[in-house]
Every structure is written in C-alpha cells, then in structure tokens.
Symmetry: C2
Subunit: 229 residues, 2 copies
DNA sequence: CTATAATTGGAACGAACGTTCGATAAATCA
DNA sequence: TGATTTATCGAACGTTCGTTCCAATTATAG
C-alpha cells in the first residue's frame, strides 16, 4: 500500500515522519476519511460545483485543516481518482490469474468492473464524470492508468476473437462494452436493479453473444446465429 | 417552429413582438447563434466550469448583453438541452413512420441516435454530462422528455421481443444500449472512427444478436460465471 | 513536568463568480 | 425628420471561490 508516501505533505508537515512501522498513522487515517467524504460531495455536486467549504462542512474539518492534509482541491480529486482506478486494476489482475479460458476471462473482467463500480458507485461516477478536470500533470497520470486498463480489455477480446476465429472490430467492441458498464452510474438503483453478479451475467450474455455471432467474413443481421464459423 | 415563444424575454424585451410572420427575427437569430457558441464552451469546460465571462468572450457579446438574451446561466443550459433533445425525438418519430418491421425499427432508433449524436456531439455531451445541473423546475421538464425517449425505446424492444418470442429484461437491455451509444462522446474521433451509419451497423449487430440469442427459457452460455467472490 | 511537533480554527486575501443598472447606440416607424 | 423601441455596453453590486497566515490547541517525546 504505502499510501502515505504518495501523498504530498503540506509545508507544515513536510518533515520526514520517523519510525512509523505500523500500517497507517493517524495522519493517514484521517486523510483517508476526508477522501471518503469528499468523494461523496464530488459525487453530488461535481468537481467544479463542490467548494472547499462544502468539503469542509462534510468532513467536519476547518477550511485550513483541509489544506493541512491536501495541498489543493485538484490534488484531492487526483488522489480519489488514482486510488479508485489503481484498486480496480489490481483486483482485476488478481482475479485473472490462473484462468485460461478466454470467455471466462472476459466474464471476469465484466464482473470485476461492475462489482467495483456498484460498491464504489460514487467514486466511480467521479472518475467517469470528471476525467478531464485535472490539469496536465495530474491528468496524464490518470490517463495512463486508464489506458492500461483499456489495453487489458482489448487483449482479452483479441484472445477471444482468435480462439473462436471471429471477426469484429476490437475497438468498437471494447468501447461498446465500457459504455454498457459505465453508464450504470446514471441509472442503477440498488432497490430496484439486480446486483453486480446478475448484471454482469446479463450484460455479459448480451455482449458475448453479440460478438460471438460475428463469424468470419460477412456480418449479416438476419438471424444466422448458428454458424459460428 | 415557433421557437421564439419558448424563449423567455428579459425584462427590457418582454413586450409582445407584434406581427412577425417570417420564420425568425433578428432577436431569434442572434439568440440561436449565442446558444451555438455557448454549447461549445459548455462542452469544453462543463456547465459549472464555464463562466458567463467565458461565454461573453466566446460569443463576442458583452456580459450585460448576454442577460438581454437569457435571463440566467441556468436558462441558457436549459434551452440548449431542450432544443437538442426535442429535435432528436422529433426526427426519430418521423423516421419510424411507415416502418413496420420490429428489428428495422430498432436499427432506425440506433442510427438516428448515433447520427444526431455525432453531428451534434458537443450539444449531446452537454446533454449527457450536465443532466442534473438544472434545478427543480427546469430539470423536471428535461427529465420528462428524456423519459419519453426512454419509453419509446422500451416499446420498440418489447415489440421485438414479442415478435421473436424472446426473453430478456427490457430495462437492462435498453440501458445497455443507451450506454453503448452515449459513451461515444468520450472516445469518438472522426479522423479514426467510422461514421454514424457504420457505427450504427456494428453496434446494432452486437446488440441485436446479443438479445436475439436469448431464446425462451434458459439464457445460458456454456460456462457459469466464476465464483462471484 | 516541559518542550516540541502535529493538528486545528478564525479571519482574511485577491480573484472570479452570476447578476444588475443606467446610459448609450442602432434600428424601426410615424 | 423626430419619437420610440430594440440592442449593446461599461461599470459596478454583493457573494463566493480557492488559498494563506497565524495564533491557539492538542498529542507526543524526553
């Protein structure tokens, strides 16, 4: 984890913290808690719409206190995005280990994405919705993680395509899949809609059947699902 | 069209405009032009991030001049959203007339959506991205149009489902389809990606095959989705 | 305990925000 | 032409923005 080392200390707290062998210090704990509440506020009001005073109120911290933990509002958003994105990629890699079947791997991708998305819906909306709010330095790093995640999905699809001798445009397919999954932050209601596993199954069915029916050569729209090759 | 009657006049211009039988007055033309430029600014900076001074600069209008044409910043966003959404629904209804085949009707829906989306990409991003920026009064009217549009799509799908004796959750299917289509504002690059007709064909293929393969009864792919956790 | 570092809050900074006002210029019509 | 509406402008209003400074408070170490 080593979360602390990633976080810039404000001037007052910039001295090296000596011997702190335990996992997280008081500083780290409080910082994480502020981030959690800040995520909620960004979720509700958007990045530009949320003021530091909103965050101050929501986190029960004085305005100056916020600047003790975060050097700027932008950095706050950056930390939320980085943590969220890094975690989802980490979990995906763990889950993919030891699973060879191409279709199964795609289903794992979908499940991992939806599960994390729904469990951290607010953070994920902030991630999806404010993905161009960060200026050059910060923005590029997040964009890099995003590109890696996208690459993983493309690779999964192309392995699948190869194994089944299919023909379709990977780029369109991947981006369609992302669209299906990411859009849920606009409509998912936990009291009405199914949970992540069930959604993953349904979306996986639609998507996988959709690309599975695309045999080599023609891509006819009439029902000819049987001819996989 | 009668666009003028929908637009609130500021106090100075609130008197009824007598006999203006021709399509659009000077007022309407200038207002429409400001809206066009404002759409661009909202697209680039977001609603909260764009200031009236940004809009003033982009439209070559003084700050006070803006308030002669629009009574508030919120109203500006409202007019952009309303015009965009109303137009897309109108066009869809026209295109659906006289087409009986359920599959064909869904393909028309997709094509209409993507075509309008790509031709008015900036307005559509503003529409998708700022859909909760409007306060109660304005927001509900836009939400109403959106609900109508959603309903149309559900009906198309259910007719299709009935005709083909399929079984799938319409809600999930519709929202997945919207996700696929709406997400393009985050990635579409006209110099790299296909045009609307081709995209509509590809997405239509993925989506229609996906739901078409869901015959009555079981909806199984051969493997069960691996351990949910 | 005292001394030192970590943490907090109150008050204020200049800048930018959305909006308003009153005066002026341009267009329209008698 | 003069009278009257339509359009545009610069300047300012009060508020809120992100951020900073500094004194006061609390926790930790010697």
């Amino acid at each position: 984890m080593c979360a602390a080392s990633n976080l810039a200390r404000p001037a007052l707290a910039s001295r090296l913290r000596p011997r702190k062998p335990v996992a997280e210090s008081r500083f780290d704990r409080r910082q994480a808690e502020i981030l959690k509440h800040a995520t909620e506020v960004f979720y509700e009001k958007g990045y530009e719409g949320a003021s530091m005073r909103d965050l101050s109120r929501a986190t029960d911290t004085s305005l100056a206190g916020l600047y003790y933990y975060f050097e700027s509002k932008e950095r706050l958003l950056y930390l939320i995005q980085k943590h969220t994105f890094t975690t989802i990629v980490e979990r995906l890699k763990e889950r993919l280990q030891g699973v060879p079947d191409p279709e199964q791997r795609i289903r794992i991708f979908i499940l991992n994405h939806l599960e994390y998305f729904l469990a951290n819906q607010k953070a994920m909306k902030v991630l999806s919705h404010e993905d161009d709010a960060l200026k050059n330095g910060f923005g590029q790093e997040i964009a890099g993680i995003k590109r890696e995640y996208y690459r993983i999905c493309v690779d999964l699809l192309e392995k699948f395509k190869e194994a089944k001798a299919l023909e379709f445009k990977s780029r369109i397919a991947v981006l369609s899949l992302f669209g299906m999954m990411n859009w849920i932050y606009t409509w998912h209601n936990p009291r009405v809609d199914a949970n992540a596993a069930e959604l993953a199954r349904q979306m996986g069915d639609i998507f996988l059947r959709g690309i599975l029916a695309a045999g080599p050569g023609k891509a006819a729209s009439k029902k000819k699902p049987g001819s996989a090759n």
